[in-house]
């Protein structure tokens, strides 16, 4: 797809370029923040799987530069107008009536004090003002001391301590593997990435802290939700409007970190494989399958269902729980699934940053040199 047709097909691709974001995923974090006030009273953040760095860019602009982004960043004015006209939103309400209860966003007043942001990825990340970037594999044990040292220059790796002395308020991860198409393997690898992020988060997060990570909503995702619930008071699964409905991607938003008594995080004994986590779950099953949430006030009657299916012992073996779903970004946000008409004189901008080179880059170059299958691709003239 060419740049111009992608501009029409994908409103957030166009907006990202217009607003100087490295990738459209910046809007996902902004919309998650709008719903959950992720950045409220936050100064110390770790961004995992950060490349090309659009989430770190959001952190840099919000926490360090003190910029404030609201709905105007992604609002489709024409849609808002038509929504009022078609009475999708009652014109007296500001459009919030059908959202999860949400405190008013404080107006951001300038840069925050003592901000510390560390971004980690396998690929190098172009520098961002005020952000420490590290190139590391988050599943690797060596990454913990690396991160702890970045968070606290006085940290001494010799102590072998895997707990942060100065913990952080928020850990975010937008990481996803290149999918193979073998669905259960892809789901496993994504869950390992999520656990790697969680294992790191457990080492550096302060009690009461928040954890946000990408998740694939596929088979057995309810096992994952239940496992995350062991460590946090509230767990939601959130879908920003900037994330396509056709994608299995969603974000797990975990609020109020409450490590179980006696729990000590360690990458030597990571969670996600083996029996440690299921054991912890069994010990506190209550907490992992219940969550008090205000009911939605959208007038739809929530049904208690009568389950007539026989209980299957195979299904009872593991603890499952479905985290409440929250749509983020109000209705007037651009729709990532819709096509938009652009003015005839629309000039398509270049992306802020080219995508990272794929591992098969050399294969393509070689083929091109040999006039092979990719040889027909015209090489852009200078």
């Amino acid at each position: 797809m060419g740049k111009s047709s992608k501009d029409k097909r994908d409103a957030y691709y166009r907006l990202a370029k217009e607003q100087g974001w490295r990738a459209r995923s910046a809007f996902k974090l902004l919309q998650l923040d709008e719903e959950f006030n992720l950045f409220e009273n936050v100064t110390r953040v770790v961004d995992l799987c950060a490349a090309p760095g659009s989430w770190s860019q959001v952190l840099s602009r919000v926490l360090i530069k003190g910029e404030s982004f609201g709905r105007c960043a992604w609002q489709d004015r024409e849609a808002k107008f038509r929504q009022n006209m078609l009475k999708v939103i009652p014109s007296d309400a500001a459009g919030d009536s059908d959202e999860v209860t949400k405190p008013n966003k404080p107006v951001n007043e300038g840069p925050r004090q003592d901000v510390k942001i560390v971004s980690i990825d396998l690929q190098p990340i172009s520098p961002l003002p005020g952000i420490i970037t590290l190139r590391a594999d988050i599943t690797h044990p060596a990454t913990v001391p690396l991160l702890l040292k970045a968070l606290n220059p006085d940290y001494d790796p010799e102590t072998m301590n895997q707990q942060a002395q100065h913990p952080v308020d928020l850990v975010i991860s937008d990481g996803a593997p290149d999918v193979t198409g073998l669905h259960d393997l892809d789901i496993y690898v994504q869950s390992q990435l999520l656990f790697a992020a969680l294992n790191l988060a457990l080492c550096v997060l302060k009690p009461g802290g928040k954890f946000v990570a990408k998740i694939f909503r596929g088979r057995n995702v309810d096992l994952l939700y239940a496992q995350l619930k062991v460590f946090f008071e509230k767990v939601y699964v959130a879908k920003p409007r900037s994330s396509r409905a056709s994608s299995v991607e969603a974000f797990i938003v975990c609020i109020n970190f409450q490590p179980p008594e006696g729990f000590k995080a360690s990458l030597e004994e990571p969670l996600g494989v083996g029996g440690r986590l299921p054991q912890m779950q069994a010990e506190q099953q209550e907490a992992t399958t219940a969550q008090d949430d205000a009911p939605n006030d959208d007038g739809i009657v929530d049904m208690e269902i009568e389950d007539l299916t026989p209980s299957n012992p195979q299904d009872q073996k593991s603890i499952r729980w479905v985290a409440p779903f929250v749509a983020c970004g109000d209705l007037s946000a651009f729709d990532s699934d819709a096509s938009y008409r652009l003015p005839d004189d629309h000039v398509s901008l270049d992306p802020v940053q080219p995508p990272t080179a794929p591992p098969y880059k050399r294969a393509i170059e070689l083929r091109r040199a040999n006039g092979g299958a990719y040889g027909k691709v015209p090489i852009a003239s200078k």
Partner: protein
Amino acid sequence: MELSISAIMAQKLQYNSVLNPITALAFQDAGETTYLLVAEDTWLGVYDLATSRPLGQLKIFYSQPIHGIHVSDSESSPANEESGVLIWGGQSVTVLPLSSLHALAQGATPSPPIELKAPDWIYDGILFPAGTSKGALITAHNEILPFLVSDDGHGLTFGSLTSPSRPILYSANLCRLDSNTILVAGGTVFGEIIVWKYYFDSSQPSQWEVLYVFTGHEGSIFGVSISGEIEIAPGVTIRLLASCSDDRTIRIWDVTDRQVSAPEGQEIDSKALAEARETGFGDNSEAKEENKNDSSRCLAVSMGHLSRIWHVKFGRSNQVINGPIEIFSFGEDTTRQRWELTLDLEKWKGRLTSDSESIATLQNCSTSSCHNGKNIWSAAVSVKGGQEPLIATGGADGKVVISGSRTGDTTQKYAHLDLTISLEDVLEQLQSSHKLSTMTVEEPMTKKGVKYAFQKYSFLSDDTLMATATSGRLFLANIANSVNWDEVHVSETVTADLRSYMVMKAPVKNSVILGGATGKVYLYRKGHGVSELAHFSGKISDIILLQDYQTEEERSWSVIITVLSLDHAVILNFDPSSGKSTTDPRKIVLTDHCIITASAFAGSSLIVGSRTGALTVHNTTSDSSDFIPLTSRRDPKGKDAITAISILPGSTNSFLAACRDGKYRIYTLSSSDKDPSLHLQHEISPPLGMIEGAWFSPINATETQLILHGFRGKHFVVWNESTRTVLASIECGGAHRPYACISPSTDPNQLRLVFTKASQMRLYSQPAPFLHTLKEGGHGREIRAIAASPSGQYVVTAAEDTNIRIWQSSPNQPLKCLAIIEKHSAGIQSMKWFNENYLITSAGSEELYIWRIARLNSSYDGLAVVCEAVWTDGTKDGDLRIVDFDLRHSSFDDTILIALVLSNSEMRTYTYSPAGQEFIFLSKGLYTGACPTQVRYISGTEHILTGYTDGHLALWHESTQNPSELKLSHPPIKIHQSSIKTLDLVADNNKWVIATGGDDNALGFVDLVYDSTGQGFSVEGRYRVKSAHAAAVTGLCAVSTSEKGVIVVVSVSNDQRVKLWRGEGGRGGFKVKLLDNKYSSVADAGDVEVITSEGSGGRRVIVGGVGMEVWDLE
């Protein structure tokens, strides 16, 4: 109360069948024959290779697809009943005793396997030969998990995990070295390969020893394979490792055991792990100082696949000392490729001193495309001595393809041959056997000094070929296991007439008809020699056959002779009993310089195909005793020749016309002789670039298959359209060359082909296709839409790759694919049937096609499909998606009303008239900008229902002031937090229950009432089942029920559950019951449909996504 509940309880989903990706394969020797073990989702199937029949299947795991099968090597453990089969998938592991497998093969049901859970994902496993009762698994974190098999052979006991380091892997392979040692290779996500040894006996100082850490690959390692010991010089053996990666390369590494003194295992200092250092992509491997030079053990690197390579396996190696080592690779591009590794022994010996030189070369030898769509997910290679290895591949399409079958089929007549023969070779053979007409071998030169070459070819029978030379001489080849040549002696004048120009055709068996430049037509008959048959006024430009060339020679026959610059063509009849030929008095009158390229009689009408793609019906009339053109049509877009016309078997008025535009078409000639007309019934592009020939093969008493041949790129391809398989694909250099081919009329799998390449003749003969389909597959990509025809006899599925398949659906029978449509260029969004004879499909890029579907009146059972109309009223850029549409009968006439929704938030309505084949615009309406996802006509009203990505439903009707404008009938109704992904509704007089499935994991129900007195719609209630599934609800379909006020729906989700719900309104308010909840084998489910079979009333549920599955609704 009790009674009504038990009635509800009766509504359940019962497993019927699956067609899923094949995720593991293994060969198992079973005495006389060989079994192929096939893993399809949670099921293990056993196939007999000798008969290609499925013997039985067994459910192995509760809800986990199988990813690997290990059969202990029969050479190291001669057929022992005690041993078994190790099976794993995800964290699930089980062992199946051979006795269970044999029971399965006998049609019995063995005891169910015991499913155990390993602490992590398993990539490979190994079962030691019988007697030792142990084995090991390797996890995704490079850990060995040893186990013991219980005495009864059904149970496992795990030991403790052992690992030198725990990077995350994408692949692993285990190889047994001795009774205590396993060689382990792990390919990491970051492109490294760790090779280490694991010792079972823990009394060793260490349980492991790292041998090598290889770096070099630039992407994740998707496959690793350790070879057996390979003898490269007398007494010198090596062991190799093959790897394949995201970087598209295959690499071969030398992992021959180096003799290291005391292993330093446990020393892996936890300090090194805890050291603060950067990791990830780049030069920071797990390698320690002692492993820094390991990568010089890379012997060869090569590329061949177009995309990712999933598996690499070793083939033959020990045929001759230091002979080529065979390697096979299997990729995302659905190809399997054969490679040969040649080792330079001298360089290998000195490798430690000169590692820069290439020690070995890895040569790509062949590429075979095996599957539909994308991905070969599983492969098995079985090597027995020097024989061609048995290879099986399993695809995302659910198909299993094998090659190298060891059991010879005695019914095959054609031996395997692949010969290149020059004209000199023929003359030399004739001279040595004294069969030459003139004794000179030197003769073959034209006056201009150009060498004579082969001119034309014709098969006279299965084993006789006539090849002519540009010198005008005629040669006969007798083909058996070798080729014997003979010359047909003709007079010098005939030779001169046929020199440098001739046409040659075989009208019936053992006969050849030849036409020359002077207008003479000759006949060669076996046993009768060559005789002159007729003499025309000019050069014979072509001879067109009017019967199957396999007709027995005793039958009389006819051909059409076309003569250069003559305004008509002539039918020549021949009667073998008298040996006389007659010219038919009825001339074929040609207009507009029509050049005939193919022809056939349909009843008394003569169908003529032209060089420019026209088809003309000729017949005699009351005014004319000649065959005059009565009606004509031309369907190819360009000026491509009709290459063959074939009457459908058992029919007199339907025929097939093959064309060089790559399509074949089926027409029906209307019965009226006076005023005939041609109706296009079927038009399809099989995967051939140019179709040159088509014939019907009655493979048995009940089934007739359609066989096509032609050219695709540089290949000559024979294609079975009925089974959609390539029967042969031979590189010939491209079209535009003399060729001839023949197959036994009842066995299209056998083939003989002859063609000219580089002035030489190539003769190819096959007893069977190189690749054999053991199990039929379906789409090789994710299914996005499903629609059943009203009678339930057809089901249509559309996949991510824009292919559409039409399946025959009958109760208690597996789905049978009748047709594949490849016309859409963008992702298919929606499909619906209109009666049994129209299918409408919509896609991205504003594509909406109307297909006419018909059954042919012929013993050939293909389905006739033709695109009757294309919607063209789109936008200037044509880049919107037609997300959904709905249809209804017009209440006034025979036209179809269509409402379609576009990705720019617009809805439009049209009428389509099958008679006029055109769309007439009616009205349009615009929503907020949100993308629509669903549209339905509300029966009994003039209103239309739509669903959107913003979680709202809307109701529309034509504005009374301006009928071309659609207006809302009711304010939008919120039912989901985010996208409405699917909906269905049931009507009850003026009430409807709408069921919706959302991206928010919820199921919604809307109670809608319509007051026709003018109040319009009112919403009586909105109900929601939160967390109805653990992930987005992607498909939902209502099941018809006779109960009033009740809606029963089946829903599917990305969480891989299929659920059956019952919603019921009433005085006590709305109630929802969950009737059934089953594991679904279909990942990434795209749609669900209920098939109600006419007559029997049996209902089935079909789920499509990654593969498809069928449930019986009881």
